[in-house]
Symmetry: none
Subunit: 215 residues, 4 copies
């Protein structure tokens, strides 16, 4: 009558356990040396359970985590209220949050980078999510803020995507390839300034072109 398990984990607990174990292993030994069987052993669940929740194995673990985490991150970053005044603060917070997310998800990032090498649909889904989020953001921004109207929607979307990628590129390198700064604060500070620099750079180059064209 008494369950042989100490306690019965519910579905989400199990999924989280799989995520944690999998990404922990990826961080320790790399993506291609991390096997589903190994995850099962370490998480003390059966291999069958992993395949119940993730029918295509590793690929699915990454894909589903990607969907959940991207969703969450972007949902929590409403940039619609950004304007000339507070843009620096917005940038700083955005960069800081990206930094934290990357730091907490090093294993996942490694796995994700490996996975998109052979999974083009995952790669495209990733791209699409980003594009859609910033398209959405820009559309809202242009509706509420006059300053943004002077640039085309496409251009603005490009700028945001550019900045997002730029920060991600450097974060990934710092956390997974080689450290760039010796303290986190300095690093985040630098990234914020870099974002601002790049934003300006992008707009100026763009404006210049625009002007040139208009002349």
């Amino acid at each position: 009558m008494i369950s042989s398990k100490k306690f019965t984990r519910n579905k989400q607990e199990k999924i989280n356990l799989i995520y944690d174990t999998f990404f922990k292993l990826v961080l320790e030994q790399g993506y291609h040396k991390t096997s589903t069987n190994h995850v099962a052993k370490l998480a003390e669940i059966s291999i069958g359970t992993i395949y119940k929740y993730f029918p295509r194995g590793k690929e699915d673990i990454i894909r589903k985590y990607f969907e959940e985490s991207m969703e969450t991150f972007l949902e929590n970053h409403n940039l619609e209220m950004m304007n000339d005044e507070n843009i620096r603060d917005y940038l700083h917070r955005f960069v800081l949050d990206l930094f934290k997310t990357h730091e907490e998800n090093k294993g996942y990032n490694l796995a994700f980078r490996s996975a998109i090498q052979s999974d083009k649909t995952l790669y495209n889904a990733h791209k699409e999510k980003i594009v859609n989020f910033f398209k959405d953001t820009v559309q809202k921004l242009r509706k509420t803020n006059e300053n943004f109207e002077q640039f085309s929607e496409k251009k603005l979307v490009d700028v945001f995507i550019f900045m997002y990628n730029l920060v991600n590129a450097i974060l990934y390198h710092h956390l997974s390839v080689m450290e760039l700064f010796d303290t986190d604060d300095k690093f985040v500070e630098y990234l914020s300034n870099l974002a601002a620099f790049s934003l300006k750079y992008y707009f100026e180059t763009y404006s210049y072109n625009k002007t040139a064209i208009n002349q």
Copy 2:
């Protein structure tokens, strides 16, 4: 003098064929789906030949290519004549060459990033090569150029490594994760400016600290 099919190629040709085929496959299907057997088939050589030149298989292919290409790249980049006047040109050329190298070695870069996940010695060799090259460069620069003497050797080495990593991080992202600019020229132009910005940023931050300390 014209030789028949078998035993035709000399050692280096064969090694290059293996490199090319391997990195081509990595680019197409990712590192962990590229097998030595597959490389042999596509290169139309026997699997034994691969293991003759690369006794530990994939690991060795990456490691040896890494050694050769790093050696070559760094040998060809003598920064000793850099000074206040020409620094922008030097940066631009360095960035341009890095861009070209990355572009020609996309498969290798993907493979390398995957490999260092599970091969810490490769990772360390990589780090060491970079550190040594810039240590050497800085020592020479400080001997011939007064302006560099105002900064400590360690600081200068750090700056160069920082810049090198920064540019690499963004190049990698642009070429292997998501495109940041639509033309190569714009991208290289941006990277040069970014390098200059970061250099200035790094030095200013540093000088500030230095001054603070000295007061």
Copy 3:
């Protein structure tokens, strides 16, 4: 209660099937020509199953069988009740059992001899098991039987190990290199007598030395 083909056998049955098939093949074609794939095919199990139970393949098959069989053989041979009166009987029974064991394990013996050539830890484990068994035996014998007290523990252990090795050497040769006797009875009879002869020889040589020293 009757189960279908797959998932039929329990763990121990499977392990025994692997043992039997492997040693049968070794007997037929020698250790180094017997492959794990071949064993799998003949046993009609998958190669994965072999590696489940024996993660290091052939090496593990031999090592685990060695541990089980040595354990069993030695456990079943309690020599503690041996005394001057019954020593001949004990020797005879010990030799007879060794003979039977060897006869039933010809393939294993061939494999074991080949394996220890390149696996020093197996070799040492083998040596240690023998030494420990006879050390234990001698300690018990010396407690319960006055006659054994006149010889040092070390000497007694040496004698037993010597006899054990001697009988094994000849058994192995007879069964795996060239037949020495045309009937099993004659052979066992001879071995018993040889054991007695060697025992006497060993003690006499020893006693002589002892006496010489004491004079």
Copy 4:
């Protein structure tokens, strides 16, 4: 004009070098881990040269060494002058020489034992050589020594073969499995006595049977 080799080895020197290197390696790492390529590398000759002298590789190395060494050993052991008087001396010398031969050929013995597991023709050649040598010996003995006429030729041949095998079995075990004596002298002394004991044992058992039959 000047040979690029420091000196040109002749055929027999090369063959001996191959023997030495091969058996050295077998002793170090076991028969099945010793490859022809490895031998070539260590002996500093080409793999082609090995296959020139030994067209079937490892198998041939063992077979040819076997033929040469057996030939030599048996040629050097003329037992025809053996008689009741000197038999002990003959036995002692024969055992001593066998011991020396084994000691100098540990690698070969290991290899030979492994090879006969899968090469039945080698096994039979080995058996035949022994049988023929002792047949020949016995025929000569029976012609010149009356005492040997009382036993049938077959019986005498059996006795010699038995002794030869017995001594070999123990020698092999002592040198390649586990040491039986701590000094060589003691060991050879023991073996001589054992040979005498076994000879007597064999004859007595035989005579008894003969008498029983004749009654």
